[in-house]
C-alpha cells in the first residue's frame, strides 16, 4: 500500500518583491548585438510619462521593493531621471543606474549623486578598445565609458563594471578583470550573454566553446581568491553547457518585477515572448494587484504549474524549473522543463547546438536597431 499522498508542498505564499527593473526607454545610442531588449523596440512616443513612473516608484517602495534598477535602453536619455532618483531616495529605495555612460556628463552625474543615487553600473563591451567599439557599434564609446567610470569613483559612488561575455570577447576576460580593478570598481558582473531576443538572433556568432567556458570558470575562481575583499565578481555561465538550469529571476514572480517603457509589468524581461499571457499595465492597475493576482505573475509562480520531470524533482524549489522563455524558445512550450536541465528530453539536442555553432567560424553580427528588429520579428513570427 502506498503511503497517503503528502502534499507537503505549501501553496505559494507570495512575499514582497525585492527588486524593480525600470526599463525607462528602449532608446539607446549603442547597438550591441546581444541587447536584452525585445526585437520590437518601444518608440519614444509610447513611453510612460514622468508622473506615472513617479507613482509606480512610490507604489513599489510601499509594496516592499528594496532595490530599484534604472535601466533601458539608455536611461540617461530620460530627462526626468533626476526626479526619479530624488523620489526613490526619499522612499528608501537603493537606487542603481545601469548605463552605457556615453551620454552622461560629469555635472549630471554629480547632480544624480547629490539627489541620492546609490550605485552606478557601467557596461563595457571588451577591455580592448577597438573591439569594444565594434561590438557597441559606436566609435569612441569605450573611452567615454572609462571616463564615466572614473567620475563615478571620484564622486565616491560604488561602481559595478558589467561586461557581457561571448565568444568575441571571452579571450580578454583576464584583461577585463584587471580593468575593473584598475577602475577601482567594487563589483564586476561577467554574465554570459543569455540567448533571447537579439542574442538569440546572433547565437551562432556569440556562442563560445565548452573549453572556453570551462577555462573562464577556472579563471574567475582564481581571480575571486586573489581579489577577495577587493573586487566582488558575479559570474554567469552560458547554460547551454550546464547540467542544471539557472533559477531564472530566482523563480517566476518570486522576487522581481520588470516594467517596460510603455508600462507593462513583466516577471522577466523576455516574458513577452510567451504568447497567450496578458501583461497588465501600470497605467491601468496598481502594482500590488499586479504582483499578487495578475495572470502573468501567477502563471508560473511556485511549483503547481510544473509537469514531470520538474514536478517530482528534489531541486524544484531550487531552480524553479529554470527559464520559461528558454523552454518556449527551444521546446515550443513555456510549461516544459528548461532544456538546460540534463533531465529534459531535449537537453542533448540543446547542448549539441551550442557545440556545433561554436565550432564554426562566427557569422556576421546583426546589430540592434529598430529596423533590424522589425525585420527579425517578421521572420520569426
Amino acid at each position: 500500500m502506498s503511503p497517503p499522498s503528502t502534499s507537503a508542498e505549501p501553496t505559494p505564499t507570495v512575499g514582497p518583491p525585492l527588486g524593480l527593473l525600470a526599463e525607462l526607454t528602449h532608446r539607446c545610442p549603442l547597438q550591441c548585438p546581444y541587447c536584452s531588449n525585445p526585437l520590437r523596440l518601444e518608440r519614444a512616443d509610447g513611453e510612460l510619462p514622468t508622473e506615472v513612473w513617479l507613482d509606480v516608484l512610490e507604489q513599489a517602495a510601499a509594496l516592499g521593493v528594496l532595490q530599484l534598477h534604472l535601466s533601458g535602453g539608455e536611461p540617461t536619455l530620460r530627462r526626468d531621471l533626476e526626479e526619479m532618483v530624488a523620489l526613490a531616495a526619499k522612499a528608501g529605495l537603493f537606487t542603481n543606474l545601469i548605463t552605457a555612460g556615453v551620454l552622461l556628463t560629469r555635472e549630471r552625474l554629480e547632480r544624480l549623486a547629490a539627489l541620492g543615487l546609490d550605485h552606478v553600473q557601467v557596461s563595457i563591451q571588451d577591455a580592448e578598445l577597438a573591439n569594444a567599439d565594434r561590438i557597441a557599434r559606436y566609435a569612441g564609446s569605450h573611452a567615454r565609458k572609462l571616463e564615466v567610470a572614473h567620475w563615478v569613483r571620484a564622486l565616491k559612488l560604488p561602481l559595478t563594471i558589467n561586461a557581457p561575455m561571448h565568444r568575441q570577447n571571452i579571450a580578454n576576460l583576464p584583461a577585463i578583470i584587471d580593468l575593473a580593478v584598475n577602475l577601482a570598481a567594487q563589483r564586476l558582473e561577467v554574465a554570459h550573454v543569455q540567448y533571447y531576443g537579439w542574442a538569440l538572433q546572433n547565437r551562432q556568432a556569440l556562442m563560445p566553446t565548452r573549453r572556453q567556458v570551462l577555462d573562464s570558470v577556472e579563471l574567475v575562481e582564481r581571480a575571486r581568491e586573489r581579489l577577495k575583499g577587493v573586487l566582488v565578481i558575479d559570474f554567469v555561465v552560458p547554460d547551454y553547457y550546464a547540467q542544471r538550469p539557472k533559477p531564472c529571476m530566482g523563480g517566476w514572480g518570486r522576487g522581481s518585477i520588470n516594467i517596460t517603457p510603455s508600462g507593462k509589468a513583466l516577471p522577466c524581461h523576455a516574458a513577452e515572448t510567451i504568447a497567450g499571457i496578458r501583461f497588465d499595465n501600470v497605467r491601468d492597475k496598481r502594482l500590488a494587484e499586479i504582483w499578487l493576482h495578475s495572470d502573468a505573475f501567477q502563471r508560473f509562480r511556485g511549483t503547481d504549474w510544473m509537469a514531470q520531470p520538474c514536478r517530482s524533482c528534489e531541486l524544484r524549489t531550487v531552480d524553479w524549473g529554470g527559464c520559461r522563455c528558454q523552454a518556449l524558445a527551444f521546446a515550443g512550450d513555456a510549461g516544459l522543463t528548461d532544456p538546460a536541465c540534463a533531465k529534459s528530453a531535449l537537453h542533448a539536442a540543446f547542448t549539441r547546438i551550442a557545440e556545433e555553432e561554436a565550432a564554426e567560424p562566427a557569422r556576421e553580427l546583426v546589430f540592434r536597431s529598430p529596423r533590424a528588429g522589425r525585420k527579425a520579428a517578421i521572420v520569426r513570427s
Partner: protein
C-alpha cells in the same frame, strides 16, 4: 595595483564603519533589519545589528566589544572572538570599511 584596492584586515584596534554606499535600515514591510548594497540585500541577525549600530567610525573593535559586555553578559575577549570574524566577513563583502 592601486592603494585603495587592498583587502581590509580587521584587528581589535581597527575602527570599522558602514561603507559609504551601504544602507542599513529597518524594513517595515518585512519587519526586519536589512543591509542594502549594490545587487545585494543582507538580513543581519540581532548580534550583527547590535555590532553594526556601534560601527560609527570612532570606536575600535575592542571598544565595541566592551560596549556589548553587559548586553550579552560575556567577557570582552569572548565577544571579540565572535565579532572579529563577523566584521571581517562583512568587510570582505564590502559592507564594512576600516
Amino acid at each position: 595595483m592601486r592603494g585603495e584596492a587592498r583587502r581590509t584586515v580587521l584587528v581589535p584596534a581597527s575602527v570599522p564603519a558602514l561603507a559609504g554606499h551601504v544602507k542599513m535600515r529597518h524594513d517595515n514591510v518585512r519587519n526586519c533589519w536589512l543591509i542594502l548594497a549594490p545587487e545585494r540585500v543582507f538580513t543581519p541577525d540581532a548580534v550583527a545589528v547590535a555590532v553594526l549600530q556601534l560601527c560609527d567610525g570612532k570606536r575600535n573593535v575592542e571598544a565595541i566589544a566592551v560596549a556589548l559586555e553587559q548586553t550579552y553578559n560575556a567577557s570582552k575577549e569572548l565577544i571579540l572572538q565572535d565579532i572579529l570574524p563577523m566584521l571581517q566577513d562583512l568587510a570582505d563583502r564590502g559592507v564594512v570599511t576600516a
